[in-house]
Symmetry: C2
Subunit: 385 residues, 2 copies
C-alpha cells in the first residue's frame, strides 16, 4: 500500500427533505450566492422552488445553461458576472456537469493566468489565488462530483476534454436528497449506474494486489450497484434503492477506495476522446469501451485482478482463465441489461472516425496505469464499433 | 435508510514514515503542545524520539501515565497543568486509550460544570465552551479513536464506564504509520483485530435490512479483518497486512458504515460493565460476550441479518437456520484462533460476579437496538463463564 492522505471535509448531508438545511449551511459561509444550474430541469421537478425558498434573505444571482459535458466556452460567459457580483459562495444545483462547471467558475473567476484552459491542462496545478467556496444541491447521482474536488471540462473549440482537481474545489457541503431524483429520465438513471461502476473499476482493476481493504470496499460498491441499480429502473420511486444508489455513487469517487491505490483511468481517457468529438453522454461511452478495455488490457496486464473481480463480484467459479473471461461477459451483459447501447455505431459514430480517435488518444499521452500503446488503443477502439 | 450527515474532516495521514509530517501539521494549529501518552511504551519503540524530533521549536509540556481503560481519576490530575500551560493543541501519542484520554482533557480543561462525569454521563451533551484542538500519532490500531470524535472513560470510584462524543473532539489530524506498530505485544495485536471486528458487528447485525451499501461496506471490513489479521499474527513485520489491518480498524468506526444506520452496541455496553469492575482489556471482554449475544439476541431478534452475515462473510451455505447458527460458531472459532480467551472464568472473574454484572447492566439502562430485558442480560452473562 502506498502512503496517502485521506482528507474529505465536505459535509455530506443525505436524505429525504434535506434541502431544508440549505439556508443554514449557506449562512455559515456568507450572504451573496451565485446560483448555477443547467438546462432548467430543476424548474420542472420542484427543486428550483425548494432552493429559492431557502435563499430568501440572501443576495442571489443566477447563471443557467451549463450543458452536459460542460464547455469552457459556455462557462467563460459567467465569469464577468461573477467578478462583478463577487459572491461569497457558488451554489451548484444539478448533477455532475453543473457541479463540475461550478468548480471551474470557482477557480476561474480570480484566475490570473493568460489562458483559462491552463487550469484544466495542468489538472489544477495552475490554480493560484482565491477560490470561491462551493455548495451543492445534487439532482442526479453519478459522477461523485458532490463529494470530491475534481471537475471534467470540455474545450469544444479544440475537442479536448480533461479534468482538474484541487482541495479548494471540494464542496463545503453537499445536499443529497434521493427524492429529488425521482423524475430523472430513464437514460440518466442508466448512466447513474454505469458511471460509478466505471469509477470503481478504474481504482480496482489494477496490477497491484496488496490493497485488501480498498479492494473489498470496491467490491462492496460494485455489488451494491449491481443489486440496487436495476431496482431503481424497475421502480423509479423505490426510496431505499434510490438512496443506496445515490450513496454508492458518491462513495465511488470520494477518494476513499482510491486511498494509497495505483489507479488506471484508461477507460475514462479513451471515453473523453470520444465525447470530446461526438458529445455522447460520458457514461454511454464508458459502457461501450469498458468490456473491450478489459479484453485488451485487463486479461493481459491485470489478469490477477480480473480473476478476483470475476470471483468476488460476479460469483464465478472455475479456472482463472474461465473466470476472467466470464467477468467480461458479465460486465457487458450487465450494462446491456440496464439498457445501454453497446457500440459506437449505435450512437451513429461512423467507423471512419477510428483514426481520428486513435490519433487524439495518442496525443492525450500516458493513458492508464501502464501507458497504453498505440496498438492497444487502436485495438480497443476497433472493437467498439 | 435514515437521514444522516457524514462529516469527517480529520486529516488521516497514513503510511511508512508519515510521522515526519507531524511538525508541519502542528504548525497549522499553534506553538504550544500538550503531549499526552501512556505507560511509556513509546519510549521503547522509538516513537517518542521521532515525535520529540518533530517538536523542536515548539513549546511542549508532557503528561504520561494514561492507562488502558483510561480513568477520570488519572486524567483529572492533568487538568491543572493544562489550564496553567494553556496549550494550542493536545497531542495524543498512543493507542485508543491515550487518544480517548486526550479527548477528555480537550473538553474537560475548560469545562465549567460542577462534576466532570457530567461530560461522559451526558455522552457529550454537557460540553460547552472551548475545546482544545487535538492531534494524534497512532501507535496501536483498534478503537478508531484516531478517526472519530468519541471517547470511552471509566470512573473507577463508581466502576462506571461510558462514552462521550462531540464534533470538536475529532482529531484535526491523525498520523498512522503501520511500522510504529511492529513492536506491539501479541495480545494487543489480537485485540486490535477483535475490537474493530466488534465495531463493525455493532453497526451491521441489526434488525434493518435496507442499508445495502452500508451492509456491503461492513462485510468488506469484516472480510478484510478475517483475511489480514492472522497474517499480522504470523509475521509481525508484514507491512502490507499491518497496513490493511490499520486501515480497516480506522474505517470500522469513523461514522461511514454507520451513516443512516440503526445500530446496536449491546455487546459494548455489556462489556463496559465487565471491564468497569474487573479492568480486563475491552476487546477481551468483547470476544467473550459477542458469540453469546448472537445466540441470545442475534438468532431471535436479528435473524435475517445473522443469515446474511453467515452467507456473505463466512461463505456458509444451507438453510437459513444452519447458516445463522454456523455464523456464531465461525465467529467464536475466529476469536479463539487468534488467541483470545473465551470465558470470563479464564480471566479469573468468579461466577459469583454474575448478579453484580446483571444489576449494573440493568442500571445502565436501554442496552442495544431493542433494549435488552433483564432476562436476556442474565442469559448472556451466564453463558460467559
Amino acid at each position: 500500500m502506498q502512503n496517502f492522505i485521506f482528507h474529505n471535509p465536505t459535509r455530506y448531508i443525505f436524505g429525504e427533505g434535506q434541502i431544508q438545511l440549505l439556508s443554514q449551511e449557506i449562512s455559515k459561509i456568507g450572504k451573496k450566492v451565485f446560483l448555477v444550474y443547467g438546462s432548467g430541469s430543476i424548474k420542472k421537478n420542484g427543486v428550483y422552488e425548494q432552493v429559492l425558498a431557502q435563499l430568501t434573505g440572501f443576495e442571489v444571482k443566477e447563471f443557467s445553461g451549463v450543458e452536459p459535458n460542460p464547455r469552457l466556452e459556455t462557462l467563460a460567459k459567467a465569469l464577468p458576472l461573477i467578478r462583478e457580483f463577487a459572491p461569497d459562495i457558488i451554489l451548484a444545483v444539478g448533477g455532475g456537469s453543473v457541479i463540475d462547471g461550478a468548480k471551474f467558475l470557482a477557480v476561474a473567476a480570480y484566475f490570473d493566468g493568460e489562458d483559462l484552459w491552463e487550469i484544466v491542462k495542468t489538472h489544477g496545478e495552475a490554480v493560484t489565488g482565491k477560490v470561491i467556496p462551493l455548495g451543492v444541491v445534487l439532482t442526479m447521482s453519478a459522477t461523485a462530483s458532490e463529494f470530491n474536488g475534481g471537475s471534467v471540462i470540455t474545450r469544444w473549440a479544440t475537442h479536448e476534454k480533461d479534468y482538474f482537481e484541487t482541495e479548494e474545489t471540494r464542496p463545503r457541503f453537499s445536499l443529497v436528497d434521493p427524492q429529488a431524483q425521482y423524475s430523472l429520465p430513464e437514460e440518466q438513471i442508466i448512466y447513474g449506474i454505469i458511471d460509478p461502476f466505471s469509477h470503481v473499476l478504474e481504482q480496482y482493476i489494477t496490477q497491484t494486489t496488496d490493497f485488501e481493504v480498498q479492494d473489498r470496499l470496491a467490491e462492496a460498491l460494485l455489488l451494491s450497484l449491481i443489486d440496487q441499480g436495476p431496482k431503481v429502473l424497475r421502480n423509479k420511486q423505490d426510496y431505499s434503492a434510490r438512496a443506496n444508489l445515490a450513496f454508492a455513487a458518491s462513495l465511488a469517487l470520494n477518494n476513499l477506495i482510491g486511498s494509497g491505490v495505483t489507479q488506471d483511468w484508461a477507460t475514462h481517457s479513451l471515453e473523453h476522446v470520444v465525447s470530446g468529438f461526438y458529445d455522447i453522454p460520458h457514461a454511454a461511452g464508458l459502457a461501450i469501451i469498458t468490456p473491450h478495455w478489459m479484453q485488451v488490457v485487463g486479461l493481459t496486464q491485470k489478469f490477477e485482478k480480473m480473476v478476483r473481480y470475476g470471483r468476488n463480484v460476479w460469483g464465478l467459479t472455475g479456472t482463472d482463465e474461465v473466470v476472467a473471461a466470464g467477468a467480461i461477459t458479465k460486465t457487458s451483459e450487465f450494462f446491456s441489461s440496464l439498457g445501454a447501447k453497446m457500440t459506437l455505431t449505435a450512437w451513429n459514430i461512423p467507423h471512419e472516425s477510428l483514426e481520428q480517435l486513435v490519433s487524439a488518444a495518442v496525443k492525450y499521452g500516458n493513458i492508464g496505469e501502464n501507458a497504453l500503446s498505440e496498438v492497444q488503443i487502436r485495438d480497443i477502439y476497433t472493437r467498439c464499433y
